[in-house]
């Protein structure tokens, strides 16, 4: 997402990351740490899962931890340089990505079908450019 930020801002939008926990990790990411530069966008936390419920994002069921697709996503993320930090929060929460207008209208939504299921950034940019 960091790499896509200039294109997202050029499309008149900004980014907010929301995690189930933890505030100290969100603060570290925003500030930058070690060799990691600051994220460049805001992070919040949702310990009560309010946003996840509002967007209808699902939960990872027990059998889904055994599916090849989930582990392919992990390997793919590792190949892109992502490294697992300290796990906090809710590992069973499925992620999602939403485009929300200032009047709170949900313009576009991707509900993940499993862990690591994020849409291509081109789809997000299309949503920003064509549904404004």
């Amino acid at each position: 997402m960091r790499e896509a930020l200039p294109a997202i801002r050029a499309a008149g939008a900004d980014v907010l990351a929301v995690g189930t926990a933890a505030g100290w990790q969100a603060a570290a990411l925003m500030a930058g740490h070690g060799e990691q530069p600051p994220l460049g966008y805001q992070c919040a936390v949702d310990p009560d899962h309010n946003l996840y419920r509002a967007l209808g994002l699902g939960r990872v069921r027990a059998y889904e931890w055994l599916t090849p697709r989930l582990w392919r996503n992990y390997v793919s993320a590792f190949g892109r340089g992502a490294r697992q930090g300290r796990v906090t929060g809710d590992i069973h929460q499925k992620p999602g990505l939403a485009v929300i207008a200032p009047d709170r209208t949900l313009r576009w939504l991707h509900r993940a079908t499993t862990v690591g299921d994020y849409p291509p950034i081109a789809s997000v940019l299309d949503a920003l450019r064509t549904r404004g």
């Binding site: 997402m1 997202i8 008149g12 939008a13 900004d14 980014v15 907010l16 990351a17 929301v18 995690g19 189930t20 926990a21 933890a22 505030g23 100290w24 990790q25 969100a26 603060a27 990411l29 925003m30 805001q42 992070c43 919040a44 936390v45 949702d46 310990p47 009560d48 309010n50 946003l51 996840y52 509002a54 967007l55 209808g56 697992q84 930090g85 300290r86 796990v87 906090t88 929060g89 809710d90 590992i91 929460q93 499925k94 992620p95 990505l97 939403a98 485009v99 929300i100 207008a101 200032p102 709170r104 209208t105 949900l106 313009r107 576009w108 939504l109 862990v115 997000v124 920003l128 404004g132």
Partner: protein, 40 residues
């Protein structure tokens, strides 16, 4: 279940510093909201 075109209800979040904040406080412009599982 909410669908594109619907309006989100008020959603209470928490800032990185621990303060309660409503999603609308971030909505000065269109937002790409990435709901991840956790930071780490």
């Amino acid at each position: 279940m909410i669908q594109p075109g619907d309006r989100l209800p008020p959603v209470e979040l928490v800032t990185a510093s621990g303060a309660a904040v409503e999603l609308g406080a971030f909505l000065e412009q269109t937002l790409v909201v990435v709901a991840i599982r956790y930071y780490g």
